[in-house]
Symmetry: C2
Subunit: 473 residues, 2 copies
């Protein structure tokens, strides 16, 4: 892609001024919702509604044509019907707008490939990056920009989610709040007529607000470019991919949905492995892993320790540690002896360490501190099964207090319970500790940190420039 | 096991009178909590606290010795220290108590096998079923019996959960409320000195309050008996197993936790398959599948249809349907044509049927009704990705309204969203429809219904007596 176009991609995500072409006063129309969401969610730039039939929309002065807007425009968001897009685009070009995104549908996804090509050609000729068409919009929590018809901003954080499914973008916003999964940017890429995963991933390499990039992929435009760009960016920050259309039937559904060639599963898996992309098993696993990778350092080395107050949860953790490629090992003797001093005789001082159901906050603190401090230990999964006698928030606070002193070693937490553990979960996440409801998911998230650590170790061995051990935060 | 002992197992779960031996007035003691929980949660039988040093506990008259209790005792729950259990048990025998359970620990799990054997011998000699020792207690929501130190009753329903991990029993109670996973009985089986999975499963065959049995297993006592009993019971109601200790390390942890010989994974998998037991991948998957199997009829035949309002969720569903053994097929032409009339031109009338994000309650109703009514269709997975324009409760109500007319065909639902879909989820579950947050989990639950349906088809082919197609409710 043309360098000038690439350099302007920043205007899609950090525009100082946005024109909404097709802004409307009818609350049922997307042209209304986009303007409303920008205002309601506190977008920090300037907004120019464009509509020849209105003087004012939601208190903002409205212009009949983008050429009338009294300002440079960083981003034109187009929401007019497909048949009018070409005309509008010619005005956008004359206005020297820096970037364009198109929410409108009715292009290649309905067989109108020619129309889509015409639009791309205009943008390419004038060096304008084009996102879409057929997107739900662009969200950036870092400048409170909800330039979409998603009803809310997602929960703010460090994950950028790029999705080929617009519906998932909308549907998952509530989920990010309920699960406190922090999102930096949410980018619906629609038909990927010009800009696809490749260009956005490359842009995000230098985005300071993004610590991990989660992708929902049905098909990419250019497999080789995708793999190369992803590998380059992976050295700086982790990429996680939910690949849909893996089955024959799924590939057929993807063709009908986004027109994507879902391609050969093995090709994608090979590309992911080559590029250091962490593969996810569906939506939940994708967000689980993205959460861990956005908050925690990679797991360097594979000396993983599980600390639990429930024996059964410990057994399950051992199983999943093996299944997910980070098998538990015997602890060094001195560590076993040190732990033995801290737990009841009917507990277990080896890996998984079983504190027993009588463990209070101070027991967690003492054992976790002993474990984290030991040089043999590379990472920890801490498990709490809600017990009648203990307050999960106390336990969570104890865990957070210890980890604060060992931030170069990753931790994931499992809290088993219902409403009792909800506040504890919030406490942990707000302290940068990813927490999950089952041993399986906490171990799977830790395995993702290991997978990414392994990639970085390999790249370092190859002389590549890789991120430092400590995460910035 | 002796027939007389087997016949008395009902007294462990439906006692008309319970003596708590070791009842206490000290709220920090388990002997207090057990009596308190019985009263607080509304146990419908008679309660006799036994303690030589108290006249009254929580308003109940206290007896110095079980022999003084002025009533027949169906169940003696023992909470005195291990060293005193033998003495107490001799009095229990003299009182002709019908069944015994022991919460106290300090037996084979701490190497005191002789003491445990002595207790078993006494019970066996006097034909008394013994549950435990080293259990957290017995819960039966059908008679409001919280005979345990679990702080609450679980959410009431049709799943009986038998667990070798007591901590999980306690920890998961809150989860059952948060997830509205309905529990009939929660049985902690501790050291399984006499009664194990085998005997309880057999008892549950005729339990009218149990529609599905979920097992957390580290190791069973008698593999052959377990397989035979399970196969017999599976013909009447589904069994689901979470097998822990599958890895070498997990098996070692299990040995340290419950003293179980976790055994060969393949042996267990073979036994599960033979017996029609649905295997679960950890806790979440176990409850997901148990929920579907407790609420829905099995999936007979494998013509599964997915109806979605999100294309991406449809693609993922197709992938998981294939992965979990219920691959989606093309719909019959007449069904495709009928659906085509009901959806927008940019939707998809084939499997997965994509209603598009513009689908309202009535669209779901019309399409689901058309699909369910078609004789080719065996079961349906209905997916809703929260969209800005629709009310999930309306959609949920529409789904429930249609399914009410087709209760012999199973349905599972996926609702993607945050708090917006919470009430819809409650609505669905209270209408007997299992609902999950991702396509993966909704499809996995449907695959469990298929797996069980396949087992019943096979058994029927072999001339076995199997349950009817329609679920009782």
């Amino acid at each position: 892609m043309d360098r000038e176009i690439k350099e302007k991609i920043k205007y899609l995500l950090y525009p100082r001024s946005v024109a909404v072409i097709g802004a409307s006063r009818n609350p049922r129309k997307i042209g209304f919702q986009v303007v409303y969401n920008l205002i309601k969610d506190g977008y920090k730039g300037r907004i120019y509604p464009i509509n020849p039939n209105a003087d004012e929309i939601l208190g903002l002065k409205c212009y009949p044509n983008i050429l009338d807007a009294p300002d440079d425009i960083d981003l034109a968001m187009i929401v007019v019907p497909a048949s009018k897009v070409l005309n509008v685009l010619n005005e956008v070009v004359r206005k020297k707008v820096r970037s364009v995104a198109i929410i409108s549908s009715g292009f290649s996804e309905l067989g109108k490939k020619d129309l889509e090509d015409a639009i791309v050609n205009i943008c390419r000729e004038h060096k304008i990056p084009l996102l879409g068409p057929n997107i739900v919009g662009i969200i950036n929590t870092n400048n409170n920009m909800n330039l979409s018809f998603c009803p809310h901003l997602p929960f703010k954080g460090k994950i950028t989610f790029i999705t080929q499914s617009g519906a998932l973008a909308i549907g998952l916003i509530g989920w990010t709040w309920a699960s406190r999964i922090g999102i930096s940017k949410l980018i619906s890429i629609g038909n990927m007529a010009m800009i696809g995963f490749e260009e956005l991933i490359e842009f995000l390499e230098e985005d300071r607000d993004t610590e991990a990039v989660l992708l929902y992929i049905e098909g990419v435009k250019n497999g080789r470019l995708f793999a190369e760009v992803s590998k380059k960016v992976s050295r700086k920050k982790p990429l996680i991919a939910i690949k849909a259309g893996k089955s024959l039937r799924g590939a057929k559904a993807a063709a009908s949905h986004t027109g994507s060639l879902a391609g050969n599963v093995m090709l994608y898996e090979t590309a992911f492995k080559y590029a250091g992309i962490v593969s996810a098993d569906g939506l939940e696993d994708g967000f689980d892993k993205a959460l861990a990778l956005s908050l925690q350092p990679p797991l360097y080395g594979d000396n993983l320790v599980v600390v639990t107050n429930g024996g059964g949860a410990g057994v399950l953790s051992s199983d999943y540690a093996e299944k997910f490629g980070v098998p538990l090992k015997d602890l060094p003797k001195d560590l076993v002896n040190a732990v033995k001093e801290l737990i009841p005789p009917f507990g277990s001082p080896n890996n998984p360490i079983d504190l027993t159901g009588n463990a209070y906050r101070d027991d967690y603190i003492r054992v976790l501190d002993t474990v984290f401090r030991h040089p043999w230990v590379d990472g920890v999964v801490s498990i709490y099964v809600h017990a009648a006698i203990t307050d999960p928030v106390e336990i969570a606070d104890g865990i957070a207090q210890v980890w604060r002193n060992y931030r170069d070693k990753p931790i994931t937490v499992c809290m088993i319970g219902g409403r009792e553990v909800q506040v504890a979960n919030i406490w942990l996440r707000d302290n940068g500790i990813p927490v999950y409801p089952t041993p399986r998911r906490a171990i799977s998230a830790m395995a993702a940190l290991r997978q990414y650590g392994l990639f970085l170790e390999r790249e370092r061995g190859n002389g590549g420039m890789v991120r430092n051990k400590e995460i910035s935060s």
